[in-house]
């Protein structure tokens, strides 16, 4: 058996919870420039299943948090400015609500995906770790006329996910249980000045909690003190949970070569920004993206269920038949779904092969393994709408 690849010798950043991860036995690995826990002693399988049955606490402090503060003092001006960079209806996000969005490039490709919350007086964005420096520069270059771009570097971010998340958080923040999916804003948690959103990236009901960095460990300790229901969960299970939930991982399932339509993210682009809408276009790549809304894209991200037990992983080429010479697409995420006790994957295929139940073949170690196009999410989500 081959040795696991050695960690690259680059200097890695640490989150405010690094010492806690180590003390909890987290196995630390390099991820997006950070040293992060990939798993704890129970292992990815048990951590995944625990999150689905009780609650898991994730450190996602490596992600970027940015405030967009309107120079005019009117949040609508910050929202209008942000609409120059994303195809979403940002002006229409009510105060106290959050929405999923993508930064696009002039070709209609996706530069990053993000969450945008309206805090009433300003917007708060959460972006991916690997993209955050580029995102901040993009925001500064494009929006400085209208907004102060304020990276919130002094905040950590925790995610509490799973069916018991609301009951656990309610012990520290009475308002938590009254929040609906995608509610977001400042809340006091365990006496700390936090930002809380009822969201996450596991398909489970749950919360993301932004906390001042120097109080992150206090909050994590408090949430973990109920050690029967809440376990610390590593990035390994975060990845298998989001895969079962059919959620895109930036840099894998979506990137600068995929548009929101190709990525099956049409649901995230509101009608007001599409052709015929009051604020159609006006974002990078609008011509291409809106043409795809009207006429369709040539390819699409689909869910895939391998018929056997063998996981079909990222990079596997897809074929229309068992003996076709030319591939038709590629798997962009794939692995084993612990909740389903079966392999799951997603990838891009031509539109003609994107219909549910279409049989395809994936090349795995030189064998053509059969799989079928399947509906996502693979595991039903449990958001409290």
């Amino acid at each position: 058996m081959a040795e696991p690849a050695a960690a690259p010798s680059v200097s890695l950043k640490r989150t405010p919870l690094h010492a806690l991860h180590v003390s909890l036995g987290g196995k630390m690995v390099p991820f997006a420039g950070y040293e992060m826990p990939v798993q704890y002693a129970p292992g990815v399988l048990k951590e995944h299943l625990h999150t689905r049955s009780a609650a898991g606490l994730f450190d996602v402090s490596h992600m970027g948090q940015v405030a967009l503060v309107p120079k005019s003092g009117k949040v609508a001006d910050a929202a209008a400015a942000l609409e120059r960079l994303v195809p979403q209806d940002i002006i229409g996000i009510p105060p106290g609500r959050q929405r999923y969005a993508q930064f696009t490039n002039p070709d209609g490709g996706i530069l990053d995906d993000l969450m945008v919350a309206n805090f009433g007086e300003h917007l708060v964005l959460v972006v991916n770790a690997a993209c955050k420096d580029a995102d901040i520069k993009l925001l500064q270059d494009a929006l400085s006329d209208a907004c102060e771009v304020q990276p919130l570097n002094d905040r950590a971010l925790l995610a509490l996910q799973g069916p018991k998340a609301a009951a656990v958080l309610a012990k520290f923040c009475a308002e938590a249980e009254g929040m609906r999916f995608m509610d977001a804003g400042p809340r006091t948690v365990d006496g700390l000045a936090c930002y809380v959103s009822r969201s996450g990236y596991t398909g489970e009901d749950g919360f993301e909690i932004s906390v001042p960095a120097n109080q992150a460990e206090q909050l994590a300790d408090a949430l973990l003190s109920d050690d029967k229901d809440v376990l610390p969960i590593g990035l390994g299970a975060r990845d298998s949970l989001r895969l079962e939930a059919g959620l895109c991982l930036y840099g894998h399932d979506i990137d600068t070569t995929t548009t929101p339509v190709e990525g099956a993210l049409e649901w995230s682009v509101q009608k007001v920004r599409r052709n015929g809408g009051a604020r159609a276009g006006g974002f990078p790549g609008a011509d291409r993206i809106l043409a795809q809304f009207d006429h369709g894209a040539a390819r699409r991200r689909v869910g895939l269920r391998p018929e056997g037990r063998a996981p079909v992983r990222e990079g596997a080429t897809l074929f229309a038949t068992a003996d076709a010479a030319e591939p038709v697409g590629k798997v962009t995420s794939g692995g084993f779904g612990p909740t389903l006790n079966a392999p799951v994957a997603m990838g891009y295929v031509p539109m003609a092969l994107a219909a549910l139940d279409t049989k395809l073949f994936a090349d795995v170690r030189g064998q053509r393994l059969p799989l079928r196009v399947a509906a996502m999410p693979f595991v039903p989500n449990t958001y409290k709408r």
Binding site: M1, V44, L45, P311
Partner: protein, 121 residues
Amino acid sequence: MTTLYTSDHEWLSIDGDVATIGITDYAQAQLGDVVFVELPQVGRALKKAEAAAVVESVKAASDVYAPITGEVVEVNQAIVDEPALVNTDAGGKAWFFKLKIADKGELGGLMDEAAYKAHTA
């Protein structure tokens, strides 16, 4: 019966001219939860260092190499049916396959338990 080890974390238990081969407890701990195992066909002739089997954890796939040259005479269907056995009993019930040893001279290049312990220390 002698047990030998490779630097790639396979173990071999030698019984006459047959070697039973598995992965070490150290290897299974590195892999994490094993969810899938692919074994060679009985009758397949394997060369030393050839990829012979595949073991997949939730996160990644790893090859298991033939530590010596030989012919596959038996495979362990139990770990195909229950891959988690590799995590719970890597050195015992979770053997992968048995090889009819082609050249006992190749065994000389393998590690004994003390040398393997030093290798993984």
